[in-house]
Symmetry: C2
Subunit: 152 residues, 2 copies
DNA sequence: ATTTTTATTTAGAATAATTCTTGATCTCAA
DNA sequence: TTGAGATCAAGAATTATTCTAAATAAAAAT
């Protein structure tokens, strides 16, 4: 008889997130995301993860990112068709992509804001997930005069 | 031929949208989007376009979609990392992706709604574009009992 | 503790959407 | 009409991601 217990698991590698096991590799990947919350791509995560665990493979990084996304531990962030990025911020938030510095910033939702109220949703729609991505220029890049389009 | 409309229809091949030329191919692609507003992917557009212009190539369809998106004639719609879809709806609207029927629906913005008010945007951010994608189950699919998960 | 089962990792091959390249063709303007 | 530049077509190339299969590790059962 294979196991069947749905939730409520026991000791060690379990995290309490459904059937999710926090393996060594997953821990490393998760830590990478926690260490620098700059929305790295899978390959960027891979590079950093190798620093902590040289033998880890790219496929594993992809696996970990996918499993942890499913488990709800992290979020996958997509901007246009670029490589997916990942973040461990679980609060409801939007993403702001600065087209100057190509950084992604988390934008928090205001306490009382009602996202769905703004839209003419047909009666009876069930919303599972709302994804808000903004594009523009961040304060840092915006204040820099057009001349000094240097770095930062 | 159906649709008469708006833009991209005047005299020569010029449309008034910057330096954009409405060539035969681009017209075909644009008409495909106008004929059936169901957010087709590039390959779907290609298939339909071949009906109107058998010699058209996939590369050209990609070119047309890209140029017209740049020109602001159509919009590229991305849901997660799936193939991009395209729509000629220029009103500000969000996209609702039904995970049952895999259709994309346009969701209009309520007249007075203020999108940016909901977010804790840092002072001095310049927003060029906001992209809202919702995922869930549409009324049609939601009302169908779980048993009749048939089509549509 | 040893065996059996199941999940996870790894490396590389495969995939799929998209972009690029090159040469041909078309359009506009002189 | 000619020349320049834009656009098109066909196929090769790219790239992020997924898949496959074998090896390993962890958990459960004996």
């Amino acid at each position: 008889m294979p196991h069947s217990s749905s939730i409520a698991e026991s000791a060690s590698t379990h995290s309490g997130f459904g059937d999710f096991r926090m393996t060594k590799q997953r821990k490393v990947v998760y830590d990478v995301l926690m260490d620098e919350r700059d929305h790295p791509t899978a390959s960027e995560v891979f590079l950093r993860a190798k620093g902590k665990m040289p033998g880890i493979s790219l496929a594993t990084v992809y696996n970990c990112l996918e499993t942890m996304t499913q488990a709800g531990l992290i979020k996958q962030v997509n901007v246009d068709r670029e490589a997916s990025r990942y973040c461990p911020n679980l609060r409801p938030h939007a993403h702001f992509f600065c087209s100057e510095c190509e950084q992604i910033y988390d934008i928090d939702l205001r306490r009382h804001a009602d996202l769905e109220a703004a839209w003419e949703l047909p009666e009876g729609s069930r919303i599972d997930h709302v994804d808000v991505a903004m594009k523009g220029v961040c304060p840092k890049c915006g204040s820099a005069t057009d001349l000094s389009k240097s770095e930062n």
